[in-house]
Every structure is written in C-alpha cells, then in structure tokens.
Symmetry: D2
C-alpha cells in the first residue's frame, strides 16, 4: 500500500460534474469540482488531476472514448480513476479493458450531481480511490459501494444501479 | 467480489456522527447519520447496521473498546467497517488486531462532522466500504483516501492526517 | 408586529421545489421542501402551508394562476407568501394585483433549486416571510434581497435578476 | 423601496460565522462567510460589508458593543444589518436603541452555524435584509422569521427562540 506513487484522476464529466445553469434552467458543465472535493475530504495521496473532457456520456462518440484510452496509455501512473457518466460507463470500460493495459483503471461517477445536497458523487469517489489502490491490473467499475470487473456488470436503468451480470 | 454476503457497519460515534446542539452550543451526539447516508449514496450492498455506542474516542476506556471487539467476534459477518473517532482509532485497531479474528475489519471516521457542509465523512465511508471488500483478513485504518494496516500507521495530530509509520 | 395571526404559504412549485430525478436525469417535481425548511430555520410564526400545485411557471396557463388567485381569496389569512417559478411570477402578480384583495401578498421563488448546495431559495423565503409581515395590503415580488410592487418590476432574463421598472 | 442606497452589514461573528477547527475539534472563528453567501443568494442590493469583529457574544464586554455602536454612528448608510451572536444580541440592541440614532438597525444571527447543513443563518440574513429596508428608524431583532423592537423581545434560552416580551 505505497502511496508515494501518484494516482491519476482522469475527469470526463458525466452527472458527477453537472452544473445547474440558473439563466437557462438546464444542467450543463462549467468547471470540474474535483480539486475542491479532494481538498475538503483531506485526501493525502499524490494525485494527478487531468481534465480530459466534460461530457454527458450519452453524447460520447467513439472518439471521446479513444481520447480516454489515449490518456490511460500515456499516463505515467499505473493506477487511474476515471470520473465518467454512468449511462455509457461500461462501454468505455470495454474499450479500456480490451486494450489490456498493464494498469489498474477504475471508472466511477454519480447518479446525482455533486452540486446537489444528496449526491452519491463523493462516496463513489472514495470507493474508486481505494479500489484503484487495492486491485490488480485490469479495468473496473466502482458504483453503489461495489466494485465490478468491466465485463461482469450491467447498468439496471430502471433501478438506476449497477449490478453483476 | 461477491456482494451477497452482508457487511456489518459497527457505529461507535466519533466526530463522524457529532451533532451541533443549538441550545447548549456544543457538539454532542444525538442519532447516527449512517442510515440516511447509505440511502442517498445508493449503496446496494446488504448492510447490517449496528449502533454499538456514540462516544468521542478521547473518552473511551478499555471497556468501550472491548465492547467493539465483542461485537466483531459475535458478528455473523466476516467483513466489518467500524466508524470511530479518529483520536484513538489506532488504539482500538490494536486491540482488534491482536485478537487475530478471521475477519476483515476496517476502521474509518471523520475529521469534520458529517453534519458540516465540507465533511470528509462520506468520502471516508466509501473508502472503508470498498476496502473491507478487497482486503484479506486483518485490521486496517482507512483515512485520507488511504488504507493502512493497524500496526503501520500513526495519527499526525498537528496536520490532522494519518500517515504510514 | 403581531405574530399570533397565521401567515399562509401557498406553494406552487417553480425552480424552488425542483427535484433531480436520477433515473431520467431531468429536473422535475416530487414533494415540496417547505415543511423541512421551516423546521430547520426555526421559524416560530404560525404558518398554514398550502400545496396548491407543483409546476414550472413557464408551463402555467391562466387556469393555474386563477387557482392561485382563488386560494388567496378563500384564505382566512390576510398575509400570504407564494412560492412560484420566477419566469412568469410577475404575470401571476398582475392577476393578483388587479384583483385588489384586502391582503398582503408576496411572491418569491428561486433561481437555483433548493436541493442544490448553493441555492437562493432559503434566503428568498426569509425575505418573503418578513416582507409579508411589514408591508401594507398589496401584491409584491421579493427576489434578490429586494421587494418590488408587482407593477414596478421586470425580470432581466439575461442577468437572471429582478429589477425596478 | 429605493435600493440605490447601500445597506451596511456589520459583521460581529456569533454562531452565524463559527467554523469547525478539525485539528482542535472545537468551534471557533476563521473567516466570515458573508461575501460568499451574498453572492450565491443573488442579492443585488448595494452592500457595504464591514468585518467589525468575530466574537462569541457570550464573550463580549461593553467595549465590544461600543465598537458596534461606533460603527453604526460613523456609517454613511442609514440602514444597517448586524450579524451577532444570539446570546447577548438584545444587550447590544439596548445599547444601540438607547443611542437613538436616526437609522434603521436590524440585528440578526443564527442558532446553528452557517457551515452546518441545516442552518438558520441564511434564512435569518434574508429576514434581516428585508426588514432593514421596510422598517422606520429604530433598532430591531430579526430571528425565527419574526421582527421585534429591541425593547420588546427576550431570548427564551430553553427553547432557543426569541419571543415577544
């Protein structure tokens, strides 16, 4: 459990970082909340924060996912957490998994934006940050307090939770 | 990563569950916030919540720690998260560690009460919940985004963080 | 400044009470937050809470506004606060104003939903609750820390604020 | 209801601005939260913020209150809101009231610190900001959604509310 090695957090947006625009009345993106969160949760790990993109995962094209894959390849770190929209998180997981990188990669996100008072965002971030330190090389999804291999999970859209399968 | 087996969360209080009493103006205990937290973070693991005690860990006597040890022994679950005050968390960790239970036990807590807007409580809970699912039998401390064996950590009181050592 | 007489709060929805639906990812209505708010802000006034409707004011028809007018007429209380969407708040204000009820009516709302961490909702509620106790009969808008007669205000949609005019 | 004239907010601390020090585990003062609050509540009034002192009102001596009186005298503004600890708010109100300044002065505060998730601070601030715009010259207390003349109120310490009397 050596913490001297950095963990990279690759930020891609998703519901996690959604922002309420009071002029238009819609949920959109503005800045990422990751720097502020890491500070008040008192995370002492060396963290490299990478603002890769800020996009709703329903709007992702293959190019968006390849951009994430490229970041993972290039990263000096061998342990990477990716914040990602939950809707197509598994799709990105598949692309990363099939690349067989010699790294531990954990995707996480949120069902409720961080900027809401009852959000799962910070809990999920904690889950992801510990998962990436304890798991062997591979690609995983950390949601709902659980950790799944990318190819052993599906999103139950009706219930809004991730399940084994 | 089988989630069908329950995880037990043994609640002992600490700063995590401190409550501001507006009449007296002091921080004290009222109820635990764990049920409400587990609900909005959308944790789908089967969880057994045990309200063991609500105490500031600076006020713990050996009997308080033995009460926690007893809960761990008796528990049907082999994976236990304990919410605990940070001041003497390692002391309780030692008592549990030296009992050599065939269980994975993770202690976590908070430097800032959950009821404050910028609290590390929920992040730490996420860390502890994933740690307990991934670690082998033993006793650990999950704080500051990291996981330490109970006998490889100390609390740096000046900085308010846990460090290897 | 007699507080023995009740104040009626007529709830009509608007951004104030919007709720994030995590399954669909949209802002919608579920329950009103007013009971919970009045409790933790420690408001000791006798308050009659009326859940009149839960609607985005952009979707209001004349019938929705007449429903509010009817509530104001029927109310035993002579001091009424109305929580309302900001987009057509002045329109409802006009209908109430032109009815010349012998009552003090204050409309307020929020630019950011109460359920967000940085919302103006609770501040505006405080403004409205005091305004209705201090103003003579008439219809007013309380937004941005200010109080305007219904016929002396417009919504600056670009800036997202209410101004004299 | 002319808003072109500034309102002065004289900050004196109290529970409103208390801050949880995670190293010592006590509630103390650090910075005032007023600038941040006024921004996200979208208050468009011209406001002069004066950081007069940051003190628990139980620790106030006459000199602390006279310092507030002096600020009120010197102020260019004729409408002043004072954030103050609730314990001796009426005492300061008396000193200001007996000075018979040709100004409208409203004292407000909080029973629960702003930094807690369920605080009355922002609601009370809204109450005070509207009260100061609508009331004639004099000194008032705005708490619990109500407005009292300084000499017609007492703090019911058992219930933690202000009442007529």
């Amino acid at each position: 459990m050596q913490a001297q090695r950095s963990i990279r957090i690759v930020i891609t947006g998703g519901t996690f970082d959604k922002h309420y625009d009071e002029i238009s009345g819609v949920l959109t993106f503005k800045d990422t909340h990751l720097p502020e969160i890491l500070k008040y949760v008192r995370c002492t790990l060396p963290i490299e924060l990478e603002l890769n993109q800020l996009i709703d995962s329903l709007e992702m094209h293959l190019s968006n996912r390849l951009q994430i894959l490229e970041s993972c390849r290039r990263a000096a770190e061998s342990r990477i957490v990716i914040t990602h929209g939950t809707d197509t998180m598994i799709e990105t997981g598949r692309i990363l998994g099939e690349a067989h990188l010699a790294k531990t990669i954990v995707l996480t996100g949120a069902m409720v934006p961080y900027s809401f008072t009852s959000s799962d965002a910070v809990f999920n971030l904690g889950c992801g940050i510990v998962a990436v330190q304890l798991l062997p090389d591979g690609v995983y999804i950390a949601m709902n307090g659980r950790v799944f291999p990318w190819n052993g999970v599906w999103k139950n859209r009706e219930a809004g939770v991730f399940e084994e399968g």
